[in-house]
């Protein structure tokens, strides 16, 4: 599995369609306080199936929809699409493209799509947590989370081991 592109539209402060090419090696993301760096990280977490609004600093999932600015009104929907390159078990062969998308509309829930076809949240989460093959897909360390690894209880830390094993 390879991650190749992240596209956002209406997700938190990313009102306009935005594309991030995910290339080999180390890609830095920089900018002043409050410009949207952690929002970008959360968009990735969200499209990969994050179910907890709290993990996205929100008190409800609709808070990820662009809430407007001084100059613009709020949006009604947010969408994030993640482009992968296979192999992905059961979905894409080597080098084949795969697109995971998630869209949330005010007053309605989230809708997931895999290559344009509607899917369940569970299908997307399984894709990324392919326990059977022992493969992990991604590690996302949120802001402030790294030192906490030392302070968490030993049984919580063991759970990380289980996810990797």
């Amino acid at each position: 599995m390879k991650f190749t592109r992240l596209a956002l539209s209406g997700f938190k402060s990313f009102a306009d369609p935005t594309e991030l090419a995910i290339l080999d090696g180390l890609t830095g993301i920089v900018g002043p306080n409050g410009c949207g760096k952690s929002n970008l990280v959360e968009a990735l977490r969200w499209v990969m199936g994050e179910g907890s609004a709290r993990q996205l600093r929100a008190s409800g999932m609709e808070e990820v929809i662009f809430a407007g600015s001084r100059w613009r009104p709020p949006f009604d929907a947010a969408e994030v699409a993640l482009q992968l390159e296979g192999p992905v078990e059961g979905l894409a062969g080597p080098g084949e493209e795969l697109v995971i998308a998630r869209r949330v509309v005010r007053g309605e829930g989230s809708v997931y799509r895999i290559n344009g076809r509607e899917a369940r949240a569970r299908d997307v989460r399984t894709l990324f947590a392919d326990a059977s093959s022992g493969a992990r897909s991604a590690a996302i360390i949120g802001q402030g989370a790294i030192a906490a690894l030392v302070d968490v209880r030993p049984d919580e830390r063991r759970r990380l081991l289980e996810e990797a094993a």
Partner: protein
């Protein structure tokens, strides 16, 4: 499953010991499964001793030292069970310059070794300098984020804009 967990534990522990010594420039760190015989219910303990210091419970470490120990654990998992993507949001915020350099060196080597792609959010010029490319996020239009490719000198200047 129990055998697999023990195997993974040994692999992660092996990498953790090496990475700890590298990130701290010495000292020793290791992992332990403790509190139960069955690894599936045992706790994963971190035993750490920065260079020149005595062994104490990991809670007493400084903010920067905890960040480094946490990074040693995260990277140990990556070396034991490689994954295609690693996203780090300001993990270097508490690190002084010497430790930032060691962190960036280790991360660069892991990227080359495992082929993992890294997305690294940072305010630290020394970390920025190690990146293969930089994207800047701005709010030229108030309240609306935009993504642009930037050079290192532009990135360092971005930290100061408001």
């Amino acid at each position: 499953a129990r055998v697999r967990l023990l195997e993974t534990f040994r692999a992660v522990d092996g990498h953790f010991r090496r990475l700890f010594a590298e990130l701290f420039g010495g000292g020793e760190g290791r992992l332990e499964l403790a509190g139960a015989d069955d690894p599936r219910v045992a706790g994963l303990e971190m035993v750490v001793r920065p260079p020149g210091k005595r062994l104490q419970h990991a809670g007493l470490l400084s903010g920067g030292e905890k960040s480094l120990a946490g990074l040693a654990l995260v990277f140990a998992f990556f070396l034991a069970r490689p994954a295609p993507l690693c996203v780090l949001d300001e993990v270097d915020a508490a690190l002084d310059d010497a430790n930032v350099v060691r962190f960036a060196d280790v991360m660069a080597r892991i990227a080359r070794t495992t082929g993992t792609r890294f997305l690294v959010v940072t305010h630290h010029p020394l970390t920025m300098a190690r990146m293969d490319r930089l994207y800047g996020i701005t709010m030229a239009e108030e309240g609306v984020s935009r993504l642009v490719s930037v050079r290192l000198d532009e990135a360092v200047a971005l930290r100061a804009s408001a």
